[in-house]
Amino acid sequence: MTCQETGQLIHALADGELDLTKSLEIETHLKGCETCVLALEEIRGLGYLMKDASLRFTPSASFEKRLRLAVRREVKEKPMTQGWWRWSMAAASLALLALAVWAAVVLLIRPSSETFVAQEVVSSHVRSLMAQHLTDVQSSDQHTVKPWFDGKLDFSPPVKDFVQQGFELKGGRLDYIDNRPVAAVVYQRRQHLINVFVWPAKSGAKPTTQASVRQGYNLMRWSSSGMEWWAISDLNLAELQQLVQLLQN
């Protein structure tokens, strides 16, 4: 390190602002350079001189008192913008934010009642296939199946056989969906089983036919003659729609 380079860093050294590497480099230089040692002593001496000379000005006690009063006065003059107004605005915007978040959670995360029913339909369908409990009454005769529901439900589900059209009636079963007992009518198309759930529709139910896919199953819902209908199967949608049309006629 040269004297020139040392001159640029010697103040940082005196002020304790130099990193270790640079400090070591500069100290190596100082060992062999009396000029720079003297310069460092001079800088440090000047620092001591300034501190010893008590050059700091101190504010008077009366000024500190006046300053406190001035701040308090400022508080009183602008309470609306400085104080509670700002706080209440902050509180109000927080409340609005909370409301927006809550609404988003309700609308986006909580499922609508229809999604909820659809999920129940899928679960019932899967359960009926898994538990070897597809039907309570096993018959391909609609005149056996329909009367079986009498006395078990507070409504009479329409039951028809469409074997001519390729949908064989397998039987009927009691199930529980949307917080009520419902009728499940089971059809078969080739190897595919179809559950048709039916129960009295709530007032204002949408009559439109809606198709959806859930967990690989095709679902169709509609309402007609005061009944809420759901059909579900692993059958392709086109053939499921055929059955739905037959049921709607």
């Binding site: 004297c3 020139q4 040392t6 001159g7 640029q8 010697i10 103040h11 940082a12 002020d15 602002e17 000029t35 720079c36 003297l38 310069a39 460092l40 002593e41 001079e42 800088i43 001496g45 000047l46 620092g47 001189l49 300034m50 501190k51 010893d52 000379a53 008590s54 050059l55 700091r56 000005f57 101190t58 504010p59 000024f63 500190e64 006046r66 300053l67 406190r68 001035a70 701040v71 308090r72 400022e74 508080v75 309470p79 400085q82 104080g83 509670w84 700002r86 706080w87």
Partner: protein, 180 residues
């Protein structure tokens, strides 16, 4: 009473730095009454922006506002002090300090050092006050004065050099005067 709570909190944060604030302002405007006015203005300004203060280095935060208030005040009242622009390009060499005047300087009294410091151009005076009297770090000075750390370092070097030479000259004159 949130406004009073805010005022109490403001005082807790800022009053411990009143001496530093006053000393800096006093050295920049060089007059007791003006320093009081400027510090009060700075405190009221700080209070107005207290919502924007996010904790952390309160001394740096407050002194930045004090320094800005000083510069505004100088702009309004003594604009000529701000117009003397200094040359930032300067090669520092240790040799400038190599004349051993230390023993001479030890005899300098407070009054003389005070006068010499007051004589320094504003740009040098403020970094000298912040470093030597308030013992702020280069980083803190850089933040308060809104300067790169390298500029802080070079202004400090040149400020010391000037102060040194002013003192040496004064001491020399006095010694000669005393001998005569």
């Amino acid at each position: 009473m949130p406004e009073l709570i805010s005022a109490v909190r403001f005082e807790e944060v800022t009053l411990p730095h009143l001496h530093a604030a006053y000393n800096l302002a006093r050295w920049l405007v060089r007059n007791d009454q003006d320093a009081e006015d400027v510090v009060q203005e700075a405190y009221l300004r700080a209070f107005k922006f207290f919502d924007g203060y996010r904790g952390g280095e309160s001394r740096t935060w407050l002194l930045t506002i004090v320094r800005n208030s000083c510069y505004s005040w100088l702009q309004r009242n003594r604009a000529h002090e701000l117009t003397d622009s200094i040359d930032e390009r300067h090669e520092d060499t240790a040799i400038d300090f190599a004349n051993p005047e230390l023993r001479l300087l030890q005899d300098a009294d407070a009054q003389m050092v005070r006068a010499a410091l007051a004589e320094l151009p504003l740009e040098f005076r403020e970094v000298m006050v912040m470093r030597e009297l308030e013992e702020l770090s280069y980083k803190e000075i850089a933040t308060i004065a809104d300067l790169p750390i390298g500029t802080v370092m070079s202004r400090l070097a040149r400020g010391r050099k000037r102060l040194h030479s002013i003192l040496v000259t004064r001491m020399g004159v006095e010694t000669k005067g005393g001998a005569a």
